[in-house]
Amino acid sequence: MSQPTANCPNCGAPIAFRWSGSVQTVCTFCKSLLIRTDLDLEMVGKVADLPAAASPVQLGTEGAFAGRSFVVIGRILYEYDQGNWNEWHLMMNDGVSGWLSDAQLEYCITFAAKPEKLPSECRRGQQYTWQGQTYTVSSITKAHYRGVEGELPFQTWDRKDVIFVDLMSPSGKFATIDYSEDPPLLFLGHAVEFEDLKLKNLRSFEGWS
């Protein structure tokens, strides 16, 4: 896969995009948020220093899921009234973009699903069927971006609160409805255990081997 390169308009550092579909990235040197308009990077603003990540996952972490290997190329940190969680942007080995969410070290892998008729509002316990699987609403969270890192497939600099609805199923399948856009976005995937992802190149923790 070709890796398009450009230079940061702020500090001139070389920027390489690992994923052809990346719409924005963060310059690792000066923390500028850069929007790609096909290699003519437009600087939008600076990203505040992200707090030390609680996650063992970091940019460059590799792993595998359902027969495809992936590498972590981006990150969004969401914040809500009970804490925060990370959405790690994955590039699968076939070029598809995926998401690994890490909420208090509970992991899920999801992929953007074809648009379905999605409700404008949800209640806990409601059931929906997509692609032959029934999901039940398990939590409704109001969250906002706290920070971004790396390559992301969309433009994000909006800090306002957005509703996220999580759904679970008896088989471990997992779904998220993201109300940051209209119409809302649907992500379908699976709840996973840390061991199943065979992660490499992880962050190390002081005092733990």
Binding site: P56, L105, P170
Partner: protein
């Protein structure tokens, strides 16, 4: 990441901080995953997501509050993963005016996440949050998860009555949540919360022996009291299989019975009637003609039938092998009395006596017979008959008893165990869940209620 990139966000480290309320040193062990943190000195509940650790709540801890049996900061290996104890809480429920408390330990691994240990009356469970949804038959008393049926055990409102350390959620002293437990020993599914927020978790019973070994603890673990809701019963699971085996053994015994009866010779080898004059002073002993006992070593059945009328006869027998000179000595008493009194007619004794002589090898035998009686009784007629290789039912009876008694004992013990388990539940007695024990319990309680009904 290319080697020219500067470091990303700082690598996580264990942080040392100070309580904003009392200044005491705090320890954060979960690398930014903590949502609440409790100062052990002043018992302030702090917001761990706030860099300033805003004080959310302050509480007073009781003087005699239990301290964690597994101290905060202890590490242990469970299911191949190292975990560190980072938080501890006590939760209390009220049942019929009595308060019951249990303790929970928050376990942390920086990659694998959180697990929870609960302890009640010395019984321990290791909990994980469920990632798949159990099928909650709302209204019914069961929950199905991964094909296994869990029975409702108890629903109660649990109040947080003590907190210490770190938690990955907002803790609040005095907060109350509805908890329902569904058991399928050795597992339990716990449903916490209602309406807006429901969390499902599954616990598995662990022995304190295993736990103390995992955490390398040197103090004495608490002794478990009674039977806990999901405590595994070594017996209950076996009961059905034991009775299946009993069935098979009974069939085998029946088969054996048929074989024994079919293969036994059951032959009559000698029969003779004698007359004994009890008053005579002549030598009473005599010998019978020689008869052959055929076949393999087996029993010999000797029957003495005497015509008695309120009299008795005692016969000394010796079964003697003509060739080897081995004798089998025994004596049999035959007595029979009858009469009439105020209650009606009565009889005592019998005019027939059967004895089985064990393990007689084949050969030529004769009997030496010496009768005795009261001279006043005069002449007594008696018949001696000898049969070879007669099957005896009594050993089958013993065998069946020998098989039934342990099976009954094991069933009784298992029922006892389940009684103790369900005594603590919302129901008080074991449920009728189609299992053998459940069915027996149902029959027993029906029997009891019908009996007490008769008294009214």
């Amino acid at each position: 990441m290319s080697p020219n990139d500067p470091a990303g966000p700082a690598a996580p480290q264990v942080k040392a901080l100070n309580c904003p309320s009392c200044g005491a040193a705090l320890t954060l062990r979960s690398f930014g995953n903590a949502v609440s943190l409790v100062c052990s000195s002043c018992h302030s509940v702090l917001d761990a997501t706030d860099p300033d650790l805003k004080v959310l709540q302050k509480f007073k801890a009781a003087e005699d509050e239990d301290s964690p049996l597994i101290p905060l900061g202890t590490r242990g290996s469970l299911r191949g993963t190292d975990y560190e104890v980072i938080g501890f809480q006590r939760r209390t429920i009220e049942v019929e005016g009595i308060h019951y408390s249990w303790h929970e330990y928050v376990l942390f691994n920086p990659a694998k996440g959180f697990r929870y240990l609960t302890e009640y009356d010395g019984h321990w469970n290791l909990f994980s949050i469920l990632r798949s949804l159990p099928e909650d038959d709302s209204g019914a008393s069961t929950v199905t998860y991964l094909g296994e049926v869990y029975r409702h055990f108890q629903t109660a409102d649990a109040t947080t009555t003590f907190v210490l350390g770190e938690f990955p959620w907002r803790v609040r002293m005095g907060e109350s949540v509805t908890v329902s437990d569904y058991v399928s020993s050795p597992r339990v599914i716990s449903k916490e919360g209602t309406g807006k927020e429901v969390t499902w978790s599954m616990g598995e019973y662990v022995t304190c022996g295993d736990l103390w070994k995992s955490f390398n603890l040197t103090n004495e673990p608490p002794v478990p009291v009674g039977v806990y809701e999901n405590q595994p019963s070594p017996l209950s699971a076996s009961v059905k299989s034991i009775w299946a085996m009993v069935g098979m053994f009974l069939i085998a015994s029946l088969l054996l019975l048929v074989i024994v009866y079919v293969t036994a010779r059951s032959e009559s080898v000698f029969e003779q009637t004698y007359s004994f004059d009890a008053a005579s002073h002549d030598e009473a002993s005599f010998v019978t003609p020689v008869f052959a006992l055929h076949g393999h070593t087996s029993d010999v059945e000797l029957t003495t039938i005497a015509s008695l009328n309120n009299s008795w006869i005692y016969v000394n027998y010796a079964l003697i092998n003509q060739d080897t000179g081995r004798a089998y000595d025994f004596g049999r008493e035959v007595s029979y009395y009858s009469g009439r009194d105020s209650d009606g007619e009565w009889t005592e004794g019998s005019n027939t006596n059967i004895v089985t002589i064990p393990s007689i090898p084949p050969g030529n035998y004769y009997l030496r017979i010496e009768p005795e009686s009261d001279p006043a009784l005069g002449v007594i007629l008696y018949t001696v008959s000898v049969k070879r290789d007669i099957p005896q039912l009594i050993f089958f009876g013993f065998g069946i008893l020998a098989i039934l008694i342990p099976a009954l004992f094991i069933t009784w013990r298992a029922m006892n165990f389940e009684h103790l388990r369900w005594a603590e539940s919302d129901y008080g007695t074991p449920p009728d869940d189609g299992s053998l024990i459940g069915t027996l319990e149902n029959l027993a309680s029906n029997f009891k209620s019908s009996n007490s009904g008769d008294d009214e």
